[in-house]
Symmetry: C2
Subunit: 337 residues, 2 copies
DNA sequence: TAAATTTTGTAAAACGTTTTACGTTGTTTG
DNA sequence: CAAACAACGTAAAACGTTTTACAAAATTTA
């Protein structure tokens, strides 16, 4: 195939040295006569010269790349999160390398390895099954900065947080205010720290209302997907719950399907609320009451923190707290009797 | 910060030459005594040596990377498409570099440039606004293989196709079979070739049934998103259509919201069908009738074709045709009177 | 006009790999 | 026992950049 034009080809064509070309093309060309500058620039276009990425990174020791690992790109929460990352990365002149691991630990580790090879900058990891041990042994040893989402709080390190405890509290209080006395919470097995936070906040509000958690609330374990919500339907119906807190919106939408199938009307027969506030919430019937997370901002802040860390590895750890809020729509109402 | 261990460090530690280390680590070490091999391997683990990506690619002239450009990662169609790409790329030992351009031409060009810099392998482009001119001038000149989706058919080049014409035909025939006589089609402005294919197929079936397209069908232009579908509601209602063909499922779901808001029942008052068969279709009420595209397979085949092309640039162009099929659910029925 | 300074440019080292071509040793063969 | 051949290993070139240190020519200064 046609050879790529190299900087040497261009230098030869322009009848100047390689140094000259390099300097001019990298904006450090004030030292050269404007005649030479124009000449080189013109020939660059003409020969369609693009610097070799690998050669350049090799010498510069930076590829302006960050790695991003999420459980599932298809989940609207994560696709929005990624959008936030991409926008901010573009602004900061970084390129995100994005992987979805489909909740598979093998795949996660595979991608983690690939990211370490390539994403010399740093990593944003939003994934459950990567253990702290793995992270310590692999990332720390390689001296690669990283930022963990949805994971156990690490003592050291940067952090982008939303107040999940408060979010759970908001959810419970909303249902309590409507008059509900019996609740169900759907949550995955081995919930991550943020999900536990939501559950604890929920529990706190329940107990604050004078109820006994174990009596008032049924916790139902199911995968955190639409399909998982659908699967949880029978258990929810078997419980005497009139108010359901799905730990994310996708599960809530899965429950919608199950309820529909069982002729249980929302919110007349049962109130359902979710968590995240994905844009789909306004398109389902009834519109979904939920707790909003600033997803785009989470992606943005994660990127900023990581890039700052890359630039100043020794900086003291940064924490960013983002607010959550209750969004009341039509999927919740007072219980039947 | 801590220096990365280089191959030289490892060679020194193992008291062998750099060549030896390189060969052994790349599986070409049969020439060496097994004692040496073990020794080197052991020290690699111990020193946590990972070959420098850039140095390696520089000399090997291949980064095992492909670029992927889609309009919108949040659209379930594309997130599934990406999933197919990631799975296949993993199998083929390639890494996909994924970008979502949010239908913004500036951003598309920016990412295109970045991909050319980095994704030395080849590109999968599923994006509307990149013009053939741009592609020719940039990609061809750089000799980078690429594969276009959802775009005007290029005479030359590889291609993964579904039969959009037939899909449109299936949609129309389904509505005709139910007894509908008045139709609406929602489609974006400046539709891409595949969308036009659907529309033409629809028209073909309508005319085959003895109807006059311009009289029987109202074409409504609106963005191809949930919000776009929602926006199209009034125009759909103003038309006398009893059967609506949304050019993709997202638009159909946007229409659901609009219909709900106007107390128009689906399918009793109006039949709606979509296109794609995203997994959400089974979670909306009523479940959405649609034309299925094998999205995952499209991602898979696109990746295979591209990688084949990378390996054998001179191979004759390949075409893959994937089937579409009608999926009847609950959003369509016979018209009212 | 000689010295100093600015302007404009270049040669060569360095980055961390892979690979080609070439050496040793030691063992077998005739 | 010399020659041939394995077995095991290495030196050095190459990949395409950026950058440092140096140099020649042109201009200014004293």
């Amino acid at each position: 195939m046609r050879k790529k034009t190299t900087i040497r080809d261009l230098a030869q064509a322009a009848d100047v040295s390689v140094t000259t070309v390099s300097q001019i093309l990298n904006g450090k060309g004030e030292r050269f006569s404007s005649a030479t500058q124009q000449h080189v620039l013109k020939l660059q276009k003409q020969l369609n010269y693009v610097p070799d990425f690998n050669a350049r990174n090799l010498i510069m020791k930076s590829s302006q790349t960050i790695g991003v690992l999420v459980p599932n790109i298809g989940n609207p929460f994560f696709s929005t999160f990624i959008k936030g990352i991409q926008e901010t990365a573009r602004e900061l002149q970084y390129i995100p390398l994005i992987f979805g691991a489909n909740h598979d630990e093998k795949i996660e580790n595979y991608y983690l390895e690939k990211m370490i090879e390539r994403a010399t900058g740093g990593l944003i990891i939003a994934s459950a099954s990567i253990t702290i041990a793995t992270i310590d042994s692999i990332l720390k040893k390689n001296g690669i900065p990283y930022l963990l989402m949805d994971q156990n709080p690490i003592v050291e390190g940067d952090r982008v947080q939303t107040n999940d405890f408060s979010g759970g509290e908001l959810a419970a209080q909303h249902l309590l205010d409507l008059g509900h006395k019996h609740f169900a919470v759907t949550i995955p097995n081995n919930p991550t720290a943020n999900l536990l936070g939501r559950l604890n906040g929920f529990r706190y509000a329940i107990e604050r209302a004078g109820l006994v958690f174990a009596q008032a609330v049924t916790v139902i374990y199911s995968p955190m997907t639409k399909a998982g919500g659908y699967l949880a339907t029978q258990d929810v119906l078997k419980s005497s719950a009139t108010g359901v807190f799905a730990i994310n919106d996708e599960m809530a939408i899965g429950l919608y399907r199950g309820m529909m199938q069982n002729n249980v009307r929302i919110p007349t027969d049962i109130s359902i609320m979710g968590y995240d506030n994905i844009d789909l919430d306004e398109y389902v019937t009834p519109k979904l009451t939920t707790v909003q997370q600033p997803i785009l901002a989470m992606g943005e802040m994660a990127t900023r923190l990581l890039v700052n860390r890359i630039k100043k590895p020794m900086m003291t750890p940064q924490k960013v707290d983002l607010p959550v809020s209750l969004v009341v729509r039509q999927s919740t109402s007072a219980p039947r009797n």
